[in-house]
Symmetry: C2
């Protein structure tokens, strides 16, 4: 029954029940963590063979010794793998170190002086569009370059393209947009074909210095038998002549080791050449030994899919647990909505407006850490204070269940408090 | 006999002999490379056990799983190793990815906005002191941040400190200095105790935003039984209260794998905390798996010294070959001076003024690549056009001998041409 349909008395009674349950949780002195999208140890174990896989063979097919200096764009074999993952040509792909975030940061650092020069000319500020809810580390990069962020709603089909097109037409200082187009962080939505097609046209409105930061972090991270298909933005962009605007990213952080994988950046050959020039003063080359390890380990598309299926076997039950727990406890109460991702690392949970921070505080006081309120929004400001990101991958199934038991009680309790105070 | 003491006739005869030898070299169609300070394959082989050394054990002593995200300053065990190498406390050291150059670049990127703000205030430019000859990649970092470079002579005792102290006293916009204090690139000189002591005082003249970039790239790279001892600059700096000015760098690039080692940055805890804050938006953490590999492989000081001795066994004969060849062919001719490094990766060779680029061109035309003329100077401009950097580590002993045979003939031929044209 909906909480909003209860009489004041019934609601008071329910509040007391919840408070009693909550007090018990507090007394249990739990210490559980649903904050970050980290793989669990069992997932990491899947890739233990990476270390030692080279067996003393360090030469590429072209004779290059990966142990020595050089080659800023990465080894050909790894560029091919990145191209396969991103749906690009190897010449459009570079392979970086253990962090695609670093590649993103550097792409912004590379463009920022040009953007700033434009902004000074018209006495304005550089701006970025941020589909929300989104990924906090994208927003932090903008903050560190003093780039103003503009929220755009993320719909189940992708960002609201009409809003985006209108904003770009009005303001020439909007220089980029952050996207997680597949199994989006945190909602799990995958952009639909029409959205992707409209993305390919944005460069025509926004100009040559506009960058679509297409962070395909969960490109291979399916949770179903019929994985979502993301339409090919590079193909559309090349047809539209906007490929220089497109920067695709991916990494093996959630395929092999989260702290020791390899990263990929894909874009037009022109944009890649300019980016290589920007990187040259800061590095002689990324870790090619680790690139070769990954090539050997994930060798071809078949191996990758097989490997990702093992992840799915570990993660599927956790995502299912979240759905079941939420449905069971909150399904008929009219106080929460949540997404049902078919891949990725998160579930996005919306509370009644105005109480997300309270729910998170309640949970924290009962020993269950959740991602801070607002973290999925630029400047940490969720304008409706209702979004909570659930990261179910790291804890064990048992701990996850305990944490969810606490979360649903906290959410209902905060909702009851809220309704009673109105 | 000195070339300058020859009569014109004798010099003409010698020129003919040299030209004939040179023509023979050209006909041999050699393809040899003395350009970059790369380890040779046999050196890299010394560290092949790195891959696979973890044998499935990925946990630190404190229980951290190195395969997962987090820990931007590096794993405690590796920070301890960096501290041992740099002569610091672990709390003063962070461990980065495969490139200390990236750490240097980021330190400059971190400071640049503050420096630029100061420069704008007094309508000046940010400047750096560059002991010359020096390392081209240091200079490239300055160029990429539009930092003006000022040459300072590198003496056999280290940079000319009197010049440095005077320049700093005159110009508040000199914000840093590049140093390779031990077995300097390319001269091989190690700064003496008095020089190091004077370095500790520089912060008092130059102010709190001044940075000594103390690139200790060859800290463990000895070629003799009694290795040069570099006086402890951190100790001196802490006594002088200038430790925030000091940034020490090192890496295992020339200890293990040149493209896949780990890097260290050491400084005061205050400067390190500010730098960590700067790094946070661009990376979640560096490759901790590779850090742990290196800890296991080089475990303690004894292991490192033993390991470096194996390098010495491979490199010693090459450095000896250079000395012997140069001495044999040029020792009595008064047309060249060169250094006799007791460690490091290079020999610095000075020709008669004005002809280094010609020697390098001659050698290149005969199939022997040398580091481009001027590369050891800011902006690629050797004001006297006389410095040539010899990098003997990468080629085999046989190839090195061939290349040196060509080099000495090119040098004497260019000298004879030069003397005859005067």
């Amino acid at each position: 029954m909906k909480l909003t349909d209860l009489s004041a008395d019934e609601l008071n009674t329910r509040q007391s029940e919840l408070l009693s349950a909550y007090t018990q949780f507090k007394e249990a002195r739990l210490s559980l963590d649903l904050t970050r999208g980290k793989p669990c140890a069992e997932q990491l174990d899947l890739s233990n063979d990476l270390d030692g896989i080279l067996e003393g063979f360090f030469l590429l097919q072209n004779g290059t010794d990966v142990r020595n200096y050089g080659g800023i764009l990465g080894v050909p074999e790894a560029r091919q793998m990145g191209a396969d993952i991103l749906g690009l040509q190897p010449a459009q792909v570079m392979v970086g170190g253990n962090s695609s975030l670093t590649l993103m940061y550097n792409m912004i650092a590379h463009m920022a002086p040009q953007w700033d020069a434009e902004a000074r000319e018209i006495n304005s500020k550089v701006k970025f569009l941020c589909p929300v809810p989104g990924y906090d580390r994208h927003f932090t990069i903008c903050e560190s370059f003093d780039i103003e962020m503009i929220n755009v709603d993320l719909l189940s089909t992708g960002p609201d393209m009409t809003v985006i097109e209108n904003l770009l037409a009005q303001d020439p200082m909007i220089k980029g947009i952050w996207c997680v187009p597949k199994y989006s962080n945190p909602t799990g939505h995958t952009y639909d074909e029409e959205t992707v097609k409209r993305f390919a046209q944005l460069g025509k409105i926004a100009g040559r210095n506009f960058r679509i930061m297409w962070d395909n972090a969960y490109v291979a991270h399916h949770l179903t038998d019929n994985p979502a298909r993301l339409h090919d933005l590079m193909d559309e962009s090349m047809q539209a002549g906007t490929e220089d605007n497109l920067v695709m990213l991916a990494s093996t952080s959630k395929i092999t080791f989260a702290g020791a994988g390899i990263s990929f950046l894909g874009t037009s050959e022109k944009t890649l050449a300019a980016f290589e020039k920007f990187l040259t003063p800061q590095v002689i080359g990324f870790d090619k030994v680790n690139q070769l390890r990954h090539v050997r380990f994930l060798q071809d598309g078949g191996n990758l899919a097989e490997h990702m299926n093992k992840h799915r076997t570990l993660l599927g039950p956790k995502f299912e647990m979240v759905q079941n727990k939420l449905q069971e406890a909150l399904g008929d109460k009219g106080i929460a909505e949540w997404t049902r991702p078919e891949g990725g690392y998160f579930i996005s949970l919306d509370t009644l407006p105005g109480i997300a921070s309270k729910v998170i505080k309640f949970a924290s006081d009962a020993g269950v850490k959740l991602t801070p309120a607002g973290a999925t929004y630029p400047y940490g400001m969720d304008p409706e204070n209702r979004n909570i990101r659930i990261a179910p991958t790291f804890p064990s199934l048992t701990d996850l269940e305990k944490a969810l038991n606490v979360l649903v009680v906290c959410l209902e309790l905060a909702s009851a408090d809220h309704l009673l105070s109105q």
